[in-house]
């Protein structure tokens, strides 16, 4: 039974899905809305602290690492779209290949992120103190980027699991698309983290 049959075939028993979106996809959208509120709360709290603290540190000397990380994450959104395109065309092998490339980009992003964390920790930054100014910076930075890194890690695991199960026939193209929605959201959050947390804290 096709998805369209499911939508129309039980008109007497089942309500039409909201906005003509399948229930699983709607659930992902609701999760994304809730999660965007979580990230927004973190960024607003960060902004409040940043605004109200006179000796806010500016520890970033270079944009090289963060620009490479941004490039990798935005590119991984494109590769996820290629995976979706292949899945909709029924090409399972190609869809899996692009999904795994997306997951690999996520792993690379996470490794660069951890390397950056290690460098900052090596310079003396912890959750509660740093050599440059208020100790609040460490807690704000590690909380926001840590929450994002957690999302990237979960996304990589989801991409691999859903990709392999799609290839094995247990999941369909819709499931891959829903995982893709989550991955694009992770990318979207990064678009706000970069200017607010990194670029506004560059040492000139």
């Amino acid at each position: 039974m096709s998805h369209a049959d499911t939508m129309t075939g039980h008109s007497g028993l089942m309500e039409k899905p909201a906005f003509s979106v399948p229930a699983k996809k709607m659930a992902m959208w609701l999760f994304i809305i809730a999660d965007s509120a979580t990230f927004a709360a973190c960024l607003v709290a960060y902004g409040f602290l940043r605004n109200a603290t006179p000796n806010w540190p500016r520890p970033f000397h270079s944009i090289t690492n963060v620009s490479i990380m941004t490039f990798i994450l935005v590119t991984s959104s494109l590769t996820m779209l290629f995976a979706m395109d292949a899945a909709k065309a029924g090409d399972k092998a190609k869809a899996l290949r692009w999904t795994l490339i997306t997951a690999a980009a996520g792993v690379l992003f996470a490794l660069l992120h951890i390397r950056e964390w290690m460098a900052l920790i090596g310079e003396g930054m912890t959750l509660f103190k740093n050599p440059w100014g208020t100790g609040l910076f460490g807690s704000a930075f590690f909380s926001i980027t840590g929450l994002h890194l957690l999302h990237v890690t979960c996304g990589v695991i989801a991409l691999v699991v859903v990709g392999l199960r799609y290839q094995g026939g247990r999941y369909n193209a819709d499931d891959l698309e829903i995982t893709g929605l989550y991955w694009h959201f992770v990318d979207l959050v990064w678009m706000f983290v970069v200017p607010l947390v990194y670029l506004l804290n560059l040492s000139h």
Binding site: S77, A89, L199
Partner: protein
């Protein structure tokens, strides 16, 4: 498979949007090194981030295809985001009226 045969690739559109997002991200990096005040920098970067996010939402997450869902997501999210802005005046008060700590 009828669905697969009927599917038309959108790869070209995706690449164009991807390049636009990269260009906007690059512009943010340029602004980071420009000689402007903190509030000006913050405003410009935030506007660019919102444009980037809108492009990703509309084309990568396909909200442009579903008008009802688009309005649901936008109204819901923007309401929550606006509700979070009530504390800013207090952060300015803590700093004695000076915007963006030097």
């Amino acid at each position: 498979m009828a669905m697969a045969e009927a599917h038309k690739s959108s790869a070209g559109k995706y690449v164009v949007v991807y390049l636009c997002i990269l260009a906007i991200a690059a512009l943010q990096f340029v602004i980071a090194y420009s000689d402007i005040t903190g509030p000006q920098m913050f405003t410009r970067m935030l506007i660019l981030a919102i444009i980037e996010a809108a492009l990703a939402l509309l084309f990568f997450m396909h909200l442009s295809d579903n008008r009802g869902l688009r309005w649901f997501v936008v109204i819901f999210t923007v309401s929550v985001l606006l509700g979070m802005q009530y504390g800013w005046t207090d952060s300015f008060r803590l700093l004695g009226g000076a915007p963006w700590a030097k």
